[in-house]
Amino acid sequence: MSENSTSRKQFLAALVTAGLAVTGCSTKKENPFEGVSGEGGPTGKKVKLLSVDGEIVEMDSSCLKPVPDIPPVSNDRERVGIDGKKFVMVIDLARCKAVKNCQKMCNAAHQMHSGQNWIHVYPMKESENGAPFWQPTNCMHCDAPPCVKVCPVDATFKREDGIVLIDNTRCVGCRFCMAACPYSARIFNWNKPEITEEEACKPYSCESSTPQRLGTVGKCDFCPDMYRQNKLPHCVTGCPNGVYFFGDLNEDSVTNGAESFRFSDLIKDKAGYRLMEELGTKPSVYYLPPVNRNFPFEKGLPTSEKS
């Protein structure tokens, strides 16, 4: 069996990504899985697992039960963030042609109302004679976040890993944060969310921002829930042109899934910058200037506006 040769590390990763959880974990007992074997009895197929004591044990695969969700992270831990991380994003404006697949994927994942978006793709022009370009904008996850300063109830908070999140079970819906955000990144649930009863009953998580709730505010969350599953944010994977790079400042690396760069090199080589630097908000989203663009601006216009 090829599984036998799997290194421990890969094995663990495989375990996590498969979303499996062991229902009992001690090797000291005679048979820890007695009575917990799934329907149908032992299958005879052995699976290797790492016990809490660091030993490799072999189990019958019927002892493993798939769990529908990764075990939920408690609200307290969600408020602290992921240890040792400092998330950043780099958006390469030279690659964008307003396909807006990022928007579509994001909206689908976050139960967005029709018409509302966390990601806006703006047609921009720096000056009258400047060249037009497309600028996707999401929450900047500022290091001096104006929205967090004004929130009266700590429903919007800054985590140690740099992410600014919203707790929709606490938000009172005053919309002060919307007024405070200079990037217009925030949207509000004016209507009842368009979700099924079943979705609405799921436990709420600040990290996935779902289920959405009436009368509360929302915005891009940098998808820490995806990170916990070893996946990239929806916009990064959704973009066919690799515009978005996501990564960790502490590791100094960013990736769009296909390519990876050293963050510092990328910013240095391509003269990366941040939006509205002069306001002192210290965003965590960097932009690479729209030079040597891969696509002409017009490519991104809706068909009706193309001349």
């Binding site: 109830v153 009172v172 919309r175 002060f176 007024a179």
Partner: protein, 426 residues
């Protein structure tokens, strides 16, 4: 002296109650369906609820101006109108608090402000100072009422029809004997309250202005905002007192107590305050307009010549220019013209608050894009209008009912002062 409503009074009352009910109905609708019953959307996320709130806070400041500032300054002429000013303050500030709750997306979580409140948010400062102001204002209304309650108790004692009223008066003030000690305590109390209310009053409106000024937005990002708001608040408050004084004088036939002198003096105050507010307006609009920085440009143009220009110039001219023109002439400070000028000041001020809140939100830093067309404009919905007018009617209702139950001019103090004046003359 309070007296039962006549026909006109009943009609007025019915209208107010109906408008209130409409507002209540709209609010129930909003509770059921969410804020989607309003026209507020992601860009214009604050609308006439918030401008109404600012208006209420502004108008409530007059309580402190007339009762405290003028009293401390020794301006005795204002004694007969102190109670009018104070009841306006109490009812307005109560409704300011209510309107904030109406504006919230999750009003049932209001308690979060207390269990999770974070002192760094200007909203928490606002909650703190507004509740303090409400308490002080209520006390300032109640304490001077005590001697009058004694008169009322005596008056209603033998009238079987007024049993309930009598009971209420007794409940509120039967401990008052008017002994020198009590008098001294109450006077001391009033003095202390008058002094404390001044900084609190300044805070409520300064903090309210900071709800805007602590953001980066064009038109709000101004160090002028606190003073600008306070001068505007004193102006609209004095205008409102002028209107209310005229109405009460007319209805309760108080011509002997509220004389032309009062309108003359109030008129002068309004002229001064309108000039002051005009001065701050020039600072607010002219200085940025001189530079025309990019983010400000769109905002200022929308006010001067764009979508909002009609109401902007209307508010400036009706709210400041015309009242000044009317009130600088001695003829204009006669009761009726002064009343008209007062109405203009109040209407202009209400619109001005709207212009402070919404146009800024519709001039964001990044262009409005990727949103439905309706998000780019703001026209208040029927529900918002109903709630806004409902709250205004509610505030008037409180004032009306108060005037029905209690004497609208302080009998005891007025007599007392008239007496003092007479003895001085002799």
């Amino acid at each position: 002296m309070p007296r039962p409503f006549d026909k006109l009074g009943i009609m007025w009352l019915t209208v107010l109650v109906l408008v209130c009910c409409l507002g209540l109905f709209a609010y129930i609708q909003q509770l059921r369906l969410g804020l989607c019953v309003t026209s507020l959307r992601d860009y214009a996320s604050w609308g006439i609820y918030i401008s109404n709130f600012v208006f209420f806070v502004a108008i409530s400041l007059v309580g402190s101006l007339i009762t405290a500032v003028l009293r401390l300054a020794g301006a005795h002429w204002c004694t007969p109108i102190t109670r009018i000013a104070e009841i306006i303050a109490v009812s307005a500030i109560s409704f300011a608090g209510l309107i904030i709750i109406v504006d919230m997306g999750r009003p049932e979580r209001f308690y979060n402000l207390f269990i999770h409140g974070r002192l760094q948010s200007p909203i928490i400062w606002d909650v703190l100072v507004i509740s303090t102001y409400l308490i002080i204002s209520c006390l300032l209304l109640y304490l001077p009422l005590l001697p009058d309650l004694k008169i009322l108790i005596a008056r209603t004692k033998h009238d079987p029809e007024k049993r309930i009223l009598h009971k209420m008066y007794c409940f509120m003030g039967s401990f008052w004997t008017g002994s020198p000690l009590q008098e001294k305590l109450v006077n001391r109390g009033i003095n202390i309250l008058c002094i404390t209310i001044v900084p609190v009053a300044f805070s409520i409106h300064t903090v309210t202005s900071w709800l805007f000024a602590t953001t980066y937005r064009a038109g709000w990002d101004s160090s002028n905002f606190g003073a600008y708001f306070i001068s505007g608040a004193f102006l609209v408050g004095s205008g409102a007192v002028m209107v209310a004084t005229y109405v009460f004088r007319h209805i309760y036939h108080l011509e002997d107590y509220i004389t032309h002198v009062h309108f003359d003096k109030l008129g002068r105050i309004v002229v001064m305050l309108a000039g002051l507010y005009g001065y701050f307006n020039v600072n607010e609009y002219l200085v940025p307009a001189f530079k025309m920085k990019k983010p400000e440009e769109e905002f200022l143009l929308s006010l001067f010549v764009g979508d909002f220009s009609g109401i902007f110039w209307f508010a400036i001219i009706t709210g400041m220019v015309i009242p000044i023109i009317i009130l600088v002439t001695p003829w204009g400070r006669k009761p009726f013209p002064a009343f008209v000028a007062g109405v203009m000041v109040v209407v202009g001020a209400w619109i001005k608050r709207y212009l402070i809140v919404t146009p800024t939100l519709l001039s964001p830093f990044l262009p409005m894009h990727d949103v439905p067309e309706s998000f780019k404009h703001y026209v208040p919905s029927w529900a918002e209008w109903s709630i806004a007018f409902g709250s205004l009617a509610g505030a008037l209702l409180i004032i009306t009912i108060f005037a029905r139950l209690f004497p609208i001019i302080p009998i005891h103090e007025t007599i007392h002062e008239a007496h003092e004046k007479n003895t001085e003359h002799h």
